[in-house]
């Protein structure tokens, strides 16, 4: 899996790492239980500061996308809400996840509207992304 890091971007590097790992998990490029390099290995080999990598990994661990074990290193972990999704679409866990994502979604919709994106185009783009990730 390729990380695409933009050092001149306004988005902090740890946030870029976190976002891309979440995207890779959602798109199925990283599977549940799959090993990824430890903080030290990724920092050593990518040349990114170890504190930055550690910050990204801690964030992913808190959000439930990553399990960090001293012996086996770092492994991808699919959050419980994704597993519930198929069997309990309206379950309490899913509702909690939606509530958690709501502020980000509102910000995203606001930005889209300010850029002149219509509701139809926005929803169809969302559907296309959902559909693609579902296929994986």
């Amino acid at each position: 899996m390729l990380l695409e890091l933009d050092f001149s971007s306004q988005t902090p590097i740890y946030q870029q790492i976190r976002n891309q790992i979440v995207l890779a998990v959602a798109e199925g490029r990283l599977k549940d239980g799959q090993r990824i390099p430890s903080v030290r290995t990724l920092a050593d080999e990518s040349g990114i500061n170890m504190m930055t990598v550690n910050k990204a990994y801690q964030l992913l661990r808190q959000e439930g996308y990553l399990q960090i074990d001293r012996r086996s290193g770092a492994r991808i972990s699919i959050p419980v809400s994704s597993i519930f999704l198929s069997s309990h679409p309206e379950g309490a866990v899913v509702t909690a996840a939606v509530n958690q994502l709501r502020p980000q979604l509102e910000l995203l919709i606001s930005e889209a509207r300010l850029h002149g994106v219509s509701q139809e185009l926005f929803l169809s783009t969302c559907c296309e992304i959902f559909h693609r990730q579902k296929e994986v």
């Binding site: 899996m1 390729l2 990380l3 695409e4 890091l5 933009d6 050092f7 001149s8 971007s9 090993r35 990824i36 390099p37 290995t41 990724l42 920092a43 050593d44 080999e45 990518s46 040349g47 990114i48 500061n49």
Partner: protein, 459 residues
Amino acid sequence: MIMNIILLLCMYPILVIMYITLANETKPKKNIILGATLPYTSLRDPRVLEICDRFKKSLRKSLWILGLIPLPSIFIPYASIAMSIVFLWILPAIIVPHVIYARYRRRLLDLKKELLQGRETLHTTTYVDIQASIQQPKPVSSFWYLPPVIMGLVPVASILFRSKQDGLDGWLLFLYLTMAFIPLLAFWLRGLFQNKMPDVAGKDSQINAALTRLRRRRYSQFCLWLAWLSGVLCLVVWLMVEQKLSYFWGMVFMVVYTIVLLILSFYTEFNTRRQMEQMAPGSPDDVVNDEDRYWIAGQFYYNPNDSHLTKESRIGVNTTINMAHPVGKILTIFLVLCLLCLPLTSAWMIGEEFTPISTQITNDTIVVRQLWKECEIPLDDIIDSTILEKRPSMGRIVGSSIGSLCKGRYNVDGFGTCRVYIQDPEGPYLMIFTDNGKYLLEWSEELASLLPIRIPAGQ
């Protein structure tokens, strides 16, 4: 004159190496030509090819001119001046071709900007393959580096052990310590190569992992060879100094050592590069790290976002240092100082050749001086002395040998290891025997009047 020709012939390969390495940069390495990262579709653009052709022509012309500059040194009778001309010529011989390279790279970067409609980079993204580093082979055990490190330390231990009896020879200790450092350096380099950024040749992590594995294995093997060969070299030099091995065979080993290391380094890099090209042939869809902005004049890597100390050089087969790294900054200063040493060495050589050796007797001690105090021999320590009418045949162990000047520790025919301080090519000379060793000095009446001189039979 013959020595001057040999010296010049030894230095001319620099021009050939410069041409081969720099002209090789006109062949695309992924999307990079002459140190400029271009769009894949522009690699065969006639304007790019024209810049490359002009660069090669300009390079050839400058190298021919550079080749003519040191020719007058052949006719100079003073060794130090002839050597100084050749040594000082090394600087322009290296710098001028690189300046030409930087000039044509600038032209390519201007063309790139035109091709990208005003943008200076293809993109500002750096690609890192996080899967490539997971399934890496176990590195060669550190244990295999232990024997060469011990081999390097044997001469150091020997000279320190002997210093209790004979006194410490500072120059020899410095030589042994420098050589013992090479196996340790190889061990350190092995760690650096092991942690290098994984190769990113495309979107396929399996190929990226295989390429990274291949490069690391090759460089790990090279470091081990370097450590073992250097360990053996330490022993060979030690045996040579101790006169357990002839000077001739010692020199033969040194030549073999240099040639083998050169072949190994070229083989490691070019073979790895060839296999990588076979495994991941270029395609327009490949991911390309456009790092042009981190390369000053296409030759000096300065990337504050990269915590690595080393980076694969864009020119030749070398690894370069990241000048933004704290250690990189120190190393850069050190390298600049080393380059400044070339003119200083020239001045020192001229000083040595043209300053006469003086022998004075003060406070019952013979003091030998040249540029500074070379040695002191208390008269009470002298057991015997003898006159040598002609210069004996001798081989240098550690010291200077410029023109007729011989200074330092030499293996003198019929006398073994002696400290030699002579400059006059004709003689006569005085061999002094003391408790601490033998000294070969220039004969002087003042000296001869004070010493118990034994005239050898037949003289």
